[in-house]
């Protein structure tokens, strides 16, 4: 990671992008550090690719400033930027073989034939394609094309590697394998990776930090755990995993917030449980399904407890998901229990006691 006080490798300030009348990027401000694995996460059409292409130099920002390695990138074309891209389609040159594809960017580096040969070999070895140099481009599988695209970019040792949904075209197993491998590769080379993805799980698994985007705007930038535990809005909470929301009334009191949750009573939350800002008055509290549990056989809990009835049950093998209607709460809450030895699976209609730790609650303004 970066040395303290070093300026961020990439700085975007108030970057806007219009396609005609369409406002594709809205005042994007973002710092990305040297050596980070950074992800842009958001639903399809939210502007992730546009932002990536702006950094790469394929799109000009309509306004705003993009600094890369301390230099303003305005007017600097893609071929002069210290970035390389792995395209969503991989963009393997079909008329060149694997070696020629990987060596393509080295053409202008003034290397001797042996130096070039060594670099290409090393790059191919790094992505696990030893000895594939003579393969024709069309004779490669999806996963292999992806690796060639990676080797072709990494052989140039760019400051930033940009990856546009690089795993979306692969099947599930291959995708999981490549996720691990990409992460390993990033640690090994220490290059800043910026990954575009619409898959929240992928972003959580791979990233040091994640920027969540909706409709051209950055909604939150945070490390995976913070993003999951302390999402800044209900929309973000819903996009990343599942969260239950209950209406509540918030009253700030010094450094804490007293929250009256409809039907469940008063809880006192820390300010850090209000990642979107401390609300005053009508609000919602949220809690993740795995942060609530059922109490069995007269188990007791020091945490909050409420009585309810199982309304729906879904058995997943390793987990069971329950929809529980709590007394005095309008909508049923979803919770999940790990199926460990000796723990029964409750059926619909059975009475249930639900407990949760108030520290797991997140408070959102309305």
């Amino acid at each position: 990671m970066s040395t303290p006080n070093a300026p961020p490798l990439i700085q975007l300030s108030d970057v806007d992008k219009y396609y005609g009348d369409y406002h594709a990027l809205r005042s994007v401000t973002l710092d990305i550090e040297q050596g980070e694995f950074f992800s842009l996460l958001g639903p399809s059409g939210c502007g992730k690719t546009t932002l990536l292409r702006t950094i790469a130099g394929f799109e000009d920002a309509s306004s705003g400033v993009l600094m890369l390695g301390g230099e303003n990138m305005k007017g600097v074309p893609a071929n002069k930027r210290p970035t390389n891209m792995v395209f969503q389609s991989y963009a393997i040159f079909p008329h060149l073989n694997v070696f020629e594809n990987v060596a393509f960017g080295l053409r202008k580096k003034g290397l001797s034939a042996t130096e070039k040969d060594t670099k290409v070999r090393d790059a191919l070895a790094m992505v696990g394609l030893d000895g594939y140099g003579d393969r024709a481009a069309h004779a490669l599988s999806g996963g292999q094309r992806q690796r060639v695209a990676l080797a072709r970019a990494l052989v140039l040792q760019p400051k930033v590697l940009l990856l546009d949904e690089p795993l979306s075209a692969l099947d599930k197993k291959m995708r999981e394998q490549m996720q691990t491998e990409l992460r390993r590769l990033q640690r090994q080379v220490g290059i800043t990776f910026i990954l575009v993805t619409h898959d929240q799980e992928e972003a959580l698994i791979m990233s040091d930090r994640i920027a969540v985007m909706f409709e051209g705007e950055i909604a939150q930038v945070a490390a995976p755990q913070t993003l999951y535990r302390r999402p800044a809005s209900q929309k973000i909470a819903n996009f990343i995993g599942v969260m239950n929301f209950m209406p509540a009334t918030a009253t700030p009191a010094g450094g804490v917030v007293n929250v009256d949750i409809a039907g469940l009573g008063i809880a006192t939350l820390d300010a850090d449980q209000c990642p979107g800002g401390v609300p005053n008055g009508a609000a919602h509290v949220g809690i993740r399904p795995e942060m609530m549990s059922l109490l069995f056989y007269g188990e007791t809990s020091t945490a909050s407890v409420a009585q309810g009835v199982i309304e729906e049950q879904s058995y997943y093998g390793d987990m069971t998901y329950y929809d529980v209607r709590l007394e005095g709460v309008s909508d049923p809450v979803t919770l999940s229990m790990k199926n460990i030895v000796g723990r029964p699976v409750l059926e619909r209609g059975e009475a249930a006691r639900v407990s949760w730790d108030p520290r797991a609650l997140v408070l959102f303004g309305n």
Partner: protein, 267 residues
């Protein structure tokens, strides 16, 4: 089903019977073009070989055809590239207008070019006026062929080359051109073929050096030369078939390389 087959056969016969007559009489041992055939000879081909005026006409035609092929393909590359890659005002009308010579009667092109060249510009008719006119009628064909080739080039390939440090110009040379090369070859061959046997415009614009078709037309006044014309025609048909086959081979290879489904073409 059976009716359809008979129809198809009759149709093919109607299309190709006249052409089949060419070699028949080219090898017939008689100056009279009529059945029954009287015997086999290579004589007419030998006569072609021994006619210097014909050689001059052939040379002239080849020069014109090569020049036309190069010019119309170069223009076609520019137009197809612009059409595939850039958005500009009035793009559709402009690209449509370029294609019009494809359906313009050649006699109109011939007459109007004659007026322009001789009356307005006051130029001497020469080989180069024919090249200019042939380029005009061949360019739409080149564009039609090259449009397909350029549209099949995935933009991200060009972006990837830029991303890897190439300039727009070297990207065109290293990526775009190799990928459209089958189309370029196809365009060269087809415009070459069109120019080689074009008669009407060449007839209007020919100066002192006739092209081969114009020379052949001149021969028709001498009945005893007719079998030699048949022999020449036979050679031309052969050449056309070979060139068009090569062009189609490259077009299909281009489609295959781009990994696309074949949706037709000239053959």
């Amino acid at each position: 089903m059976k009716g359809l087959r008979i129809y198809a056969l009759a149709y093919l016969l109607f299309l190709y019977a006249p052409i089949l007559l060419l070699p028949l009489f080219a090898f017939n041992n008689s100056t009279i073009i009529a059945f029954p055939l009287s015997g086999f000879t290579f004589g007419w081909f030998v006569e072609l070989w021994e006619t210097p005026a014909l050689h001059a006409a052939v040379k002239n035609s080849l020069l014109i055809a090569v020049a036309t092929a190069v010019f119309s393909t170069l223009l076609g590359i520019c137009a197809a590239r612009a059409g595939a890659k850039y958005e500009f005002p009035l793009k559709r009308p402009i690209l449509g207008l370029i294609m019009v010579p494809l359906v313009l009667p050649e006699i109109i092109v011939g007459v109007s070019l004659l007026i322009v060249v001789v009356q307005l510009l006051d130029w001497q008719l020469s080989t180069w006026t024919i090249v200019a006119a042939h380029t005009l009628i061949c360019t739409p064909f080149s564009i039609a062929i090259l449009n397909g080739a350029f549209q099949n080039v995935d933009t991200s390939l060009e972006e990837a080359a830029l991303d890897l440090g190439e300039t727009p110009l070297s990207t065109f040379r290293l990526i775009t051109l190799p990928l459209v090369m089958p189309g370029v070859i196809s365009s060269l061959l087809i415009s070459f073929t069109i120019s080689l046997d074009e008669f009407i415009i060449a007839f209007f614009l020919t100066g002192s050096d006739p092209t081969m078709p114009v020379y052949i037309w001149g021969l028709l006044r001498f009945p005893q030369k007719l079998p030699a014309v048949m022999a020449l025609g036979t050679l031309l048909v052969l050449l056309s078939i070979i060139l068009l086959s090569i062009a189609e081979y490259f077009r299909r290879r281009g489609v295959r390389r781009a990994g696309l489904k074949d949706t037709g073409g000239f053959l």
